[in-house]
């Protein structure tokens, strides 16, 4: 009955086509701690995101999803395996807005442009365009503390877009927002993604959010993180979080997530 196509593959999906992926994660392992007493956090993760694809990484706490994102962002190195990001340094958005409070909203965006090497004269119009894109045209001169939580995340999105990366990494960027604001931001993100055709790797623990946003949902098991299962979400955009189709697939994925969590109570 569900309009979603489910790939019932238990293992990681093989990269079938030869088209260059936006990110190619190949047999990546990550452990923390001293050699010998190291705690494995990620175990043999193989995952690719196609150019223009929106992938949600879903998992309970301790599945290492943020660790994986840090590896892709280049903030940390894998213990084994390789990560290729052909488009250069990916942009990263955090759960906290991470905007610099000593700069205005517009200047925050301009700093990303400047670090990317955009000439001075072109920065201001480009920053204004990006703020316009996140529907914050009038916020250029606003200080970070003058903005609401949702506006801050939109400025953070504009700043991430200013890096002009083909890959956008998002680490639970809407987790701290209230439900209505989050709903609005889901809509904005979907709109911007479909306008820019960016590749997005979006980490969340919220099943409905994942189904609302993604073309593909990848479920990670916990401790160590492994790719447990993945679903192609074939519900046409724009979706809404309360759509029956979104709800149906969410129920199915939540059931799998529960199974994964229960396994940890058994040993």
């Amino acid at each position: 009955m569900s309009p979603a196509l489910t790939t019932d593959k238990a293992g990681p999906a093989e990269v079938a086509d030869d088209a260059p992926a936006a990110v190619r994660i190949d047999h990546v392992h990550k452990s923390f701690g001293r050699p010998g007493a190291a705690q494995p956090v990620l175990d043999d993760i193989t995952l690719s995101v196609r150019p223009g694809e929106f992938v949600c990484l879903l998992g309970a706490s301790g599945c290492g999803k943020s660790t994986l994102l840090n590896l892709v962002a280049g903030l940390d190195r894998p213990t084994a395996g390789t990560i290729e990001v052909p488009g250069g340094r990916p942009a990263l958005m955090f759960q906290e807005h991470a905007l610099f409070p000593w700069l205005t909203a517009g200047r925050n965006v301009e700093l990303a442009l400047r670090l990317r090497g955009v000439p001075r004269a072109a920065r201001r119009p480009e920053a204004e365009r990006l703020l316009e894109l996140v529907r914050l045209g009038g916020a250029y001169g606003k200080r970070v503390h003058e903005l609401s939580g949702g506006m801050r995340q939109r400025v953070a999105l504009a700043r991430a877009l200013a890096q002009d990366s083909r890959l956008l990494l998002m680490d639970e960027p809407f987790a701290a927002l209230d439900a209505i604001t989050r709903d609005v931001l889901h809509h904005e993100l979907t709109r911007i993604w479909s306008e820019t055709r960016l590749s997005v790797l979006f980490v969340t623990h919220n099943v409905r959010e994942a189904v609302r946003l993604a073309e593909r949902v990848v479920l990670l098991s916990s401790r160590p993180g492994r790719v447990a299962r993945e679903w192609a979400v074939d519900i046409p955009q724009p979706r809404r979080i309360e759509d029956a189709a979104v709800a149906d697939l969410s129920v199915e994925i939540t059931e799998e997530l529960r199974k994964e969590i229960r396994r940890h109570g058994q040993h």
């Binding site: 309009p3 990916p90 400047r114 670090l115 990317r116 609401s148 890096q163 604001t181 809509h187 724009p238």
Partner: protein
């Protein structure tokens, strides 16, 4: 638009609907910053300290009238006022103040030029921190008067000795302020900076230093207080006719002349200059930096 999928594409009205919702959310959640009106500032910021000063002078006057002690120990407030006007009429008042203030500010600028790179090194280079960190913190608790005898033996009773004492007093404060400012930079800013390509010197310039600015300015404020204190101690102890007449020497001269109104005037002037520099330079700077970051309320209420 001609999709045959189960849920039909939504009409564009929905997008408008969401835009309206978004505008509502933005308006509801935004913080409105109001400037405090001038009369409010006058009433809540200026009036209380003025009243406090008037109260002190009144108590002083009452003590004099009650005759609690001899006149040469506690002169009438008007006698102090007379010394002040006398200095003014002689035309030496501003010279005396300027001699000390110019020494103090010049010494402070030198301390700034030394303390800032030193603080950066201590904060960023682990070996330097292990080697110098404890010494810098220790120096902060050493009263800089203790350096005066050594400075006088090394450099004689000269301007150089004054500057040496100022530096030894102010450099540790400024360096430590920068170190604690850098230590308190949220790691998230550094991670965000790195994902944007701000590493190395660019990271220090665009992220680390601006983020550390509040702590640095607190260090500057303290550095100024230490500069001024050290200078006054040095001027008091190492006074010589060869040096220009500063506030410290003025105070010491008044003591040798048993001129109690002059002594009180000297103390009041030293206090006044210390407060004035803080109010004119450092407090506005600190307030501005904190207000921009939303760390301080716009007005004092």
């Amino acid at each position: 638009m001609a999709s045959t999928e189960a849920p039909a594409p939504r009409p564009p009205a929905e997008s408008q609907d969401l835009a309206g919702l978004e505008a509502g959310l933005d308006a509801l959640d935004s913080v409105q910053i109001k400037r405090t009106p001038f009369t409010q500032v006058l009433l809540h910021k200026v009036l209380p300290p003025v009243l406090a000063v008037l109260l002190v002078v009144a108590v002083w006057k009452v003590l004099v009238l009650a005759g609690v002690t001899d006149d040469y120990k506690l002169p009438d407030p008007s006698a102090v006022w007379d010394s002040l006007t006398e200095l003014w009429v002689q035309g030496t008042l501003l010279d005396i103040i300027w001699t000390s203030v110019s020494r103090g500010l010049l010494g402070f600028l030198a301390a700034l030029a030394i303390g800032t790179p030193l603080g950066l090194l201590v904060a960023r280079v682990r070996f330097v921190r292990a080697a110098l960190g404890p010494i810098l913190s220790g120096l902060q608790s050493l009263p800089s008067v203790a350096w005066v005898p050594a400075a006088v033996i090394w450099l004689g009773i000269t301007d150089s000795a004054m500057y040496a004492v100022i530096l030894l007093g102010a450099v540790p404060s400024i360096a430590n302020g920068l170190v604690s400012g850098i230590d308190h930079v949220p790691p998230l800013y550094l991670r965000a900076g790195r994902t944007m390509g701000a590493t190395g010197a660019r990271g220090a310039w665009h992220i680390l230093l601006p983020a550390a600015l509040p702590g640095y300015i607190a260090g500057l404020k303290q550095g100024w207080a230490f500069s001024w204190r050290s200078l006054m101690a040095a001027e008091l102890i190492a006074s010589s006719p060869d040096l220009g007449l500063g506030l410290g020497q003025f105070l010491e001269n008044a003591r040798t002349d048993s001129d109690m109104p002059g002594v009180l005037l000297g103390i009041i002037l030293i206090l006044f200059v210390g407060i004035a520099i803080d109010l004119i330079v450092f407090s506005p700077l600190e307030r501005r930096v904190l207000r921009v970051r939303g760390l301080a309320a716009a007005g004092g209420r």
